[in-house]
């Protein structure tokens, strides 16, 4: 008796669940909703909503907070100056939490829930890759402010940091001009260093520079002891450092502990900037970095930018390349919108080609084809104040070439 009742109850339960499940599916299929990609952006009032999506928690928060700060500064300045097309910017801020899946979720919320006209943010390539399909599906806009590995050009993203032909390749030109014969590659184990090193190896072959070693360590790993021992053994003329974030501290520690220095095997870095240099735990005077902006850049706009930033956040705060690129991105957006006289994404894209801005790094111009910007490449040498003295420059802005189509030695499928 009891047994049969049990079976009956179980059967009913399964049947019930099944029926609910089917009804939900059926309802979903017949339901009609607005097609994805329909814009809900409303700019009819006297404000325009923009999304700031940076990690303010997790491993990337120290770096991304600086970008958030300079975005907030640019917003304050633009609002004080009358806003974009007379509309005050209203920022909706979200935390990407250093997690690609969260970035994907939050940008969807910003675009479809808050109906922002554009989103500014992202840092790691993983965060950008996670946001890309969402911003494309909703025909939104993302301004990405960090130098990266190239090989991408989305209609819905503007890349205001350097692509490889504006940072990696000029750095190699600089090394060649220094008479470098042997080069050691040290990087974090993810897409940017892997891709950068693939380009470096192919260009090195072209320049006649020999690669004497290539080592990777996971992003969150600080132990570089064994890898640095290989550098000591290889005695390279230069070390090309594509390590990202706090792992640099462990690398620099091992580097100096094992007797290396700027006079024997100097380092050229692509992610150590003014913010990071004093945090290395050891003086890095005499080492090099490749960027498109240094705090030491001598332009009137830069002097104004530094003053405004330090007035806002304190005189001890340095300014760096990603911060400048983020600051510039908001001004570029304002310039495009005012040229297009519209916040509509298609109108913005149609108007973006050739829009330029007198940025702290110098004049930058948008390439409407690939949505990157022309930038001047700089090599800086770290001085005792942890500032960078510019020792080499490409002199003129370099046109962005994210797929390296203009470089005959580049073979994307080679190992």
């Amino acid at each position: 008796m009891l047994k049969s009742r049990t079976r009956l109850a179980t059967g009913t339960a399964f049947a019930l669940a099944g029926a609910l499940f089917l009804s939900a599916c059926g309802g979903a299929k017949s339901g009609e909703e607005g097609a994805a990609g329909e814009s809900c952006v409303d700019t009819s009032g006297d404000t325009v909503k923009l999304g700031f999506l940076n990690s303010t928690s997790g491993a990337m928060s120290i770096s991304e907070q600086t970008v958030r700060d300079s975005l907030s500064l640019a917003m304050k300045e633009i609002n004080a100056d009358g806003g974009i097309m007379g509309k005050q910017i209203e920022a909706v801020v979200e935390d990407g939490a250093s997690d690609p899946a969260i970035f994907a979720e939050k940008i969807e919320k910003l675009l479809t829930g808050d109906c922002v006209a554009a989103v500014f943010g992202g840092w790691t390539s993983a965060s950008r890759k996670a946001m890309l399909p969402v911003v494309e599906a909703n025909n939104g806009l993302l301004f990405y402010p960090v130098q990266y590995e190239g090989l991408e050009a989305s209609e819905n993203i503007y890349y205001t940091g350097a692509t490889t032909n504006q940072q990696i390749i000029p750095a190699m030109d600089f090394l060649a001009s220094e008479g470098t014969k042997t080069l050691f590659l040290a990087g974090s184990d993810y897409v940017f260093p892997r891709t950068a090193n693939k380009i470096i190896k192919q260009y090195a072959a072209e320049l006649g520079i020999e690669i004497v070693g290539e080592e990777y360590v996971p992003l969150d790993d600080d132990d570089w002891t064994t890898q640095v021992a290989k550098i000591v053994k290889a005695k390279p003329d230069f070390v090309f450092n594509t390590i990202n974030g706090s792992s640099n501290v462990g690398f620099i520690k091992a580097y100096y502990e094992q007797g290396l220095g700027a006079d024997t095997s100097p380092i050229i870095s692509v992610s150590i900037a003014e913010e990071e240099a004093p945090a290395m735990g050891h003086s890095v005077t005499g080492q090099y970095a490749a960027w498109n902006y240094f705090q030491s850049v001598d332009t009137p706009t830069n002097a104004a930018f530094i003053k405004a930033f330090q007035d806002e956040y304190g005189a001890s705060r340095p300014t760096s390349d990603p911060m400048e690129a983020a600051y510039t991105s908001l001004y570029l957006y304002k310039a495009i919108v005012e040229k297009a006289e519209s916040f509509d994404v298609d109108d913005v894209n149609a108007a973006s080609d050739g829009v330029s801005f007198d940025a702290p790094e110098g004049t930058v111009t948008i390439d409407g084809e690939n949505h990157h910007i022309a930038k001047t490449a700089l090599i800086g040498k770290i001085n005792d104040d942890n500032q960078f003295d510019v020792v080499w420059s490409s002199e003129t802005p370099i046109e962005p070439d994210p797929f390296l189509e203009g470089y005959s030695w580049w073979d994307p499928t080679a190992e």
Partner: protein, 353 residues
């Protein structure tokens, strides 16, 4: 009240609760939530599916499984590989292999072109992995903190392995940019709701499975093993086998959760399956009440919802609030929020006595 009627109601209570949850998730939620919010709920449901398994292994079996991210990842990556190949077309290979690799696809990807193979793999891969692992662990009578540390270490190893194999698994970036789910366009809101409904249906199914397991002789044995493993051994049962079954079922549920997470979140990356992600799963189970039928699922849903809501309301301080919530619950309600009624009842009894 008639004692037979009371017994009947009490016996049916779990079923009524599951049915109520089913109505809530499958009827009320789709009717009231926006497409984006429903998709978010879908993600919490995926964590809840894994949490139901943790409830079985930890709540009833006493095994603190700190590395369920591994099994979540096995299912998630299996599904993601299939979706990635679907997006690449019949002869194509995933875009990241040409961008960051040498343009050739590793052999183990090939079978995942088949949807049927993928579905089987989502169940078989974690089952095989958990059986081998569980066999080695339980036969050696590894338990308690050692077991927890071992599973946690496994999650660390798994995430590190994924990060190190950029050409094979997409590395730190993970796998994303899926366009369709078994032929259904994933950008179409109607299809997104269908995927959501499948996940919700699977959660209900998993709850029914553990409900049956808890009522069965196996469920009794599992609790007995948790509370007095040696006595169970002396009674002639092998505790290793009992624990193994619970561990394998938990692993399969985590895998199913992961498999649904990939199309719903649109991405799976090492940060969704690493040690931190595994701890978040555990935290949800602890919050809801690990030994209760619905506790783990409701806890995971709450933690997921809390993460989203808190981070939207307090974008800079939300992690502190979430941390505080866990501390308060663990201090005041060590058996979870779901246990609140019983805690109150016993407190009341004490004060009246």
């Amino acid at each position: 009240m008639n004692p037979r009627l009371t017994a009947l109601v009490r016996g049916a209570a779990p079923l009524i609760a599951i049915a109520a949850l089913a109505v809530l998730l499958l009827v009320v939620a789709p009717a009231t939530l926006s497409s984006f919010r429903l998709n978010n709920l879908g993600k919490y449901i995926c964590w809840a599916i894994a949490a139901v398994g943790i409830g079985l292994a930890w709540g009833r079996g006493g095994m603190l499984v700190m590395g369920q991210g591994v099994f979540f990842g096995l299912g998630g990556y299996a599904m993601a590989m299939h979706l990635k190949l679907e997006a690449a077309g019949p002869e194509g290979i995933p875009d990241f292999m040409t961008l960051y690799g040498n343009g050739t696809m590793p052999g183990f990807w090939e079978p995942f072109r088949s949807g049927a193979f993928t579905l089987v793999a989502i169940l078989v891969l974690p089952a095989v992995a958990a059986t081998i692992l569980g066999w080695a662990i339980f036969k050696r009578r590894v338990k308690g903190a050692y077991f927890a540390i071992l599973t946690q270490a496994l999650a660390v190893v798994f995430a590190t392995l994924l990060i190190a194999t950029i050409q094979e698994t997409g590395g730190f970036n993970g796998l994303n940019q899926f366009t369709s789910f078994f032929g259904y366009n994933l950008y179409d809101p109607v299809n997104k709701r269908m995927v959501y409904s499948i996940a919700a249906g699977l959660l209900i199914a998993c709850l029914l499975v553990v409900w049956q397991l808890y009522r069965s002789r196996f469920g009794e044995l599992l609790v007995a093993t948790r509370d007095a493993e040696e006595r169970v051994r002396f009674l002639g049962h092998d505790p290793a086998n009992i624990k193994l079954v619970a561990f394998v079922v938990a692993a399969m549920m985590a895998s199913v959760g992961g498999a649904m997470f990939a199309p719903i979140a649109g991405i799976i990356s090492p940060s969704d399956v690493d040690a931190t992600a595994s701890i978040f799963l555990i935290a949800g189970v602890a919050l809801g009440g690990r030994a209760l039928l619905l506790g783990p699922a409701l806890g995971a849903l709450t933690v997921g919802y809390g993460r989203t809501t808190l981070s939207e309301t307090f974008p800079t301080q939300w992690t502190y609030f979430l941390g505080l919530l866990f501390v308060v619950v663990i201090l005041l309600l060590p058996r979870g929020v779901g246990d609140l009624p019983r805690t109150l009842r016993s407190a009341l009894k004490r004060s009246t006595a």
